[in-house]
């Protein structure tokens, strides 16, 4: 009981970040009830896990940071949530995010922007910025986010915490509100690799309710390795371009040196189609989103605007007022690229390019490379408002993360130091369903790199 109270207190104390959407009163009440019901034998017994507000829960509303789902109470919960609860974890409220997970700064929430825990003039990254900020602020040891193009790893890097995106099909998407279905995965934030990995292990595994979830046993956690002896780690040259922010390069160089010292063989490799990843992503993700978000029409749930006009008027008003600007932009783009006459030029070509990008990774892994190491984001956390007027600049902050989503690969961001007080993240990209190898290397990296020191 006192644990539940303490958990609630810590979360409420972080209120100024605007990272938590659940009202303190509801949170306290629910945490007490959950703590009473939790199974003491579970591997996560008593561990509070905050949950991004696009993952359905029975305890709290699920709004996706959108007006169109204001007050929406799901009648069922996500498979990941069921698994967390079965392991004894406490669902520690819902976290603020970019509307429908579309954004890289958590400024596109109808509930206002989330503040960076170390510098309130900056963004925490996004779209899972609320979850990242709460873990960084020490309010919870772990949190769930979701990834479509880097929405866990990018805010993890900005906030200086660990963020894992599992292989596509490792974790059930059932109950994760869909954005880009072929890219979406639930991901995990943790204070440490271990916290993130053990939560991931619990939520992973087969689920008959998600046909894209692989029929596999839950992920088994590796042990912390003594060294990186035997690991071949590739450094894709396209991820270290000359124009890379020097502070990011400096932190990466130090991490590379340390992995070498641990015995890893570092090898420069090439992923030649990398430059096409962002444009490919910004065709496929909006295309799927335009269809996935068609259901928000004010007919069955959520607010209904201007219902006195005809059907078209109802749709126009509800969707026009219910969705924010970035969501509307992506629905329009997605509708356009799927339209008759444009499908071949955009959607089909993007699918072809996606196959080439995935092939790039296979080629490298086939040649004996175990893992890839890259910067997670090209820069540290940027200032709030800085990229709102320039969507393309905002999209470019996903440049090193979207590839893993397009290829369906697991990837993890680990803090590798700070520059002028701002965290820098290093990314390890693994082979499909070999999260264990990736986590093993991340353990080693985490152990040797002073995460909070100036690089």
């Amino acid at each position: 009981m006192s644990d539940a109270k303490a958990v609630a207190d810590r979360l409420v104390k972080a209120k100024r970040l605007n990272a938590l959407l659940t009202p303190p009163k509801d949170l306290r009440k629910s945490l007490l009830a959950q703590a009473t019901a939790a199974r003491p034998t579970g591997v996560l017994y008593g561990m509070p896990v905050a949950v991004k507000d696009n993952i359905c829960t029975l305890e709290f509303t699920t709004t996706c940071g959108s007006r169109i789902l204001e007050g929406y109470q799901s009648p069922y919960e996500a498979t990941a949530i069921t698994k967390l609860k079965a392991a004894g974890a406490l669902i520690a409220g819902k976290t603020n995010c970019d509307e429908f997970a579309m954004g890289s700064s958590t400024e596109y929430s109808v509930y206002g922007r989330v503040l960076h825990p170390l510098d309130r003039t900056r963004v925490p990254g996004g779209s899972s910025g609320g979850s990242a900020a709460l873990v960084a602020a020490g309010a919870v040891p772990a949190a769930l986010g979701s990834e479509t193009g880097g929405s866990v790893r990018q805010p993890a890097a900005f906030c200086g915490v660990v963020g894992i995106k599992p292989t596509y099909g490792r974790v059930s998407r059932c109950g994760l509100v869909a954005f880009g279905s072929s890219l979406d995965q639930i991901g995990v934030f943790g204070r440490s690799v271990h916290d993130a990995a053990r939560v991931l292990s619990v939520i992973s595994g087969r689920d008959p309710r998600d046909a894209t979830c692989e029929d596999r046993d839950p992920l088994r956690l590796p042990t912390v390795p003594e060294s990186l002896q035997g690991f071949v780690i590739g450094l894709p040259k396209e991820y270290f371009p000359p124009e890379l922010d020097p502070v990011v390069r400096r932190a990466c160089d130090r991490a590379i040196r340390m992995m070498k010292e641990l015995g890893a063989a570092m090898r420069e490799v090439s992923l030649p189609h990398t430059a096409y990843a962002v444009p490919t992503y910004y065709v496929i993700a909006p295309a799927e989103a335009s269809s996935n978000l068609a259901r928000y029409d004010g007919v069955r749930y959520g607010p209904r605007f201007d219902g006195n006009t005809d059907l078209r008027g109802l749709y126009r008003a509800t969707r026009g007022e219910g969705f924010g600007p970035e969501v509307r932009r992506r629905i329009l783009v997605g509708t356009y690229v799927l339209s008759a006459g444009y499908y071949d030029a955009y959607y089909r070509r993007a699918q072809q390019m996606r196959a080439l990008i995935a092939q790039d990774f296979r080629n490298v892994f086939d040649r004996g490379v175990d893992l890839l190491f890259t910067p997670t984001v090209p820069s540290p956390a940027f200032k709030a408002g800085e990229k709102l007027a320039d969507p393309i600049a905002m999209y470019m902050s996903d440049i090193f993360t979207v590839t893993a989503n397009l290829a369906g690969l697991p990837a993890i961001s680990v803090p590798i130091g700070r520059v002028k007080g701002l965290p820098i993240g290093g990314q390890l990209i693994g082979q499909a369903f070999l999260e264990d190898e990736m986590i093993e290397a991340a353990y080693a990296l985490e152990r040797v790199v002073p995460a909070t020191d100036e690089a």
Partner: protein, 474 residues
């Protein structure tokens, strides 16, 4: 100037499954609105589809029965459009890689005899919900019980040449699908729905002209009517110098007319794309073979076999195989010892007539009918008496011979008794006797009929005729 009509039908058929296509909800018809729903078929945020294996099996059986190539790999696709009874804003269907293609359906056309129509494709999709426009004064009700119910769409080629032919095609298709048990094909419950593509061209032309699509044909009775109305409309239009515009028309059965669908409802760009929530539908050879082995003998094969084995005429074979139940019944009657042609005659006349009046129940057990036929053949019952026995057995059951005896219908073959009836009849009709004797021999059946009536159908007809001829020529 003569015209040729070109018709192709797109038929939606509800598969006979207990649960829906992508969730576990019941498909039972007639439940209170919105009681057979879950997050998946309501399209709630975060809900995902999982394909129903039973439905896929039935769809494959349908494809095999139509002689289609069943593709080992097909793709589910999203068909995107907004409508309040479409909860997700898209329908899960199949588009450029359907389950099956290139089949045929042979049927007997009223004007052209046996026609083999092409089946262009057959794909799986889910049904939408139902909008109820006439129940509430202010607004439309939506019932999502039907949302997600499994359907197959069967797209026929432009091979039909008249409205009557379209009807014959549809009846044959319905019969086939009922035969193989994949659907109840009940148009009234919406488990079989048909849209028609119609165009006309002058006789001798080979290119297809602009077509229209006729929707809202809700009953078998309307198929021919709706298509006739549209064909006549197009011919009149072209003959008066106009031209046909490609459009979707709704059939109004009350007015027996077609009207254009409101322009807002049409010209959709459905923005099809592969359904990312479902992996490609991969069918193993074993699975397809298993579905093949589940297929019963198909109507066409059965018809051919009945012609070959039972020496029935093609026309009789068509009637006797009109449904699986009738065909099985017929074969059981033959197996019980009845002569095949006599059995066919009885099934086609008394059997089907009685079934029609009693919810399609074939009430006389095959063994009983075989016995009735044997009694007629052996001269124990006249045909007329046998019909009475059939009616009695149908209504009350029982042994035909006992019933015939208890009703006093056993044929009288005693020459003296028959002669007495003949004498009575001739005595009562002196005018006819005179005419007969003057050469009007066609009156013989008249006398036979009178004797039969007098004897309550018990007189042996052949004996009666012989005695009559003897007495009249005396």
């Amino acid at each position: 100037m003569s015209w040729e009509t070109i018709i192709g039908l797109e038929t939606h058929v509800q598969l006979r499954t207990r649960s829906k296509m992508f969730c576990g909800c019941s498909t039972a018809f007639g439940a209170p609105p919105n009681t057979q729903v879950c997050p998946v078929c309501l399209g709630l945020p975060g809900a995902l589809p999982a394909a129903n294996g039973a439905a896929i099996g039935l769809a494959v059986r349908g494809a095999l029965a139509l002689g289609c190539t069943v593709h080992p790999r097909s793709i589910f696709a999203r068909k995107n459009y907004f409508y309040p009874d479409l909860p997700k804003g898209y329908q899960i269907s199949q588009f450029d890689q359907p389950l099956a293609t290139d089949g045929t359906l042979s049927f007997v056309a009223p004007e052209r005899g046996i026609v083999t129509a092409t089946i262009v494709r057959l794909h799986i999709e889910e049904d939408a919900g139902k909008s109820i426009h006439d129940r509430f004064a202010r607004g439309t009700g939506i019932d999502l019980n039907r949302s997600g119910v499994p359907l197959i769409e069967i797209v026929g080629g432009p091979d039909l040449r008249s409205p009557a032919e379209a009807r014959a095609y549809l009846l044959t298709l319905k019969q086939l699908l009922e035969y193989i048990g994949i659907s109840d094909c009940d148009m009234e419950k919406g488990s079989l729905r048909v849209d028609a593509n119609v165009s006309v061209r002058r006789a001798g032309e080979t290119a297809l002209s602009t077509r229209t699509e006729v929707k809202n044909i809700n009953s078998f009775a309307f198929v021919e009517k709706a298509l006739t109305v549209e064909r006549d409309r197009q011919i009149a239009l072209v003959e008066s110098g106009g031209s046909v515009t490609q459009q979707t028309l709704l059939y109004d059965s009350k007015e027996n007319a077609v009207r254009p669908q409101r322009s807002k409802e049409e010209s959709h760009d459905y923005r099809y794309f592969p359904e990312p929530d479902l992996p490609p539908l991969v069918l193993t050879l074993e699975f397809v073979a298993e579905q093949q082995s589940e297929l019963p003998e198909l109507p066409a094969a059965k018809r051919d076999r009945f012609v070959a084995t039972y020496a029935l005429s093609r026309e009789h074979a068509v009637v006797v195989t009109s449904s699986r139940a009738v065909a099985d019944y017929y074969e059981n009657v033959v197996r019980a010892g009845a002569e095949p042609q006599a059995a066919a005659n009885w099934v086609m006349t008394e059997g089907l007539a009685d079934a029609k009046d009693h919810q399609e129940q074939l009430r006389v057990a095959p063994g009983a009918l075989a016995q009735i036929i044997a009694l007629v053949k052996g001269g124990t019952l006249s045909h007329q008496a046998a019909k009475k026995v059939f009616g009695e057995v149908a209504a009350k059951g029982g042994e035909p011979r006992n019933i015939a005896e208890s009703l006093g219908l056993i044929q009288v073959a005693d020459t003296n008794v028959v002669a007495a009836w003949v004498t009575d009849v001739l005595g009562a009709h002196p005018t006819e006797v005179a005419r007969y004797k003057k050469g009007e021999v066609k009156l013989l059946p008249f006398f036979v009929g009178k004797v039969m009536r007098l004897s309550n159908g018990k007189a042996d007809p052949k004996l009666t005729q012989r005695v009559l001829e003897e007495k009249l020529s005396a």
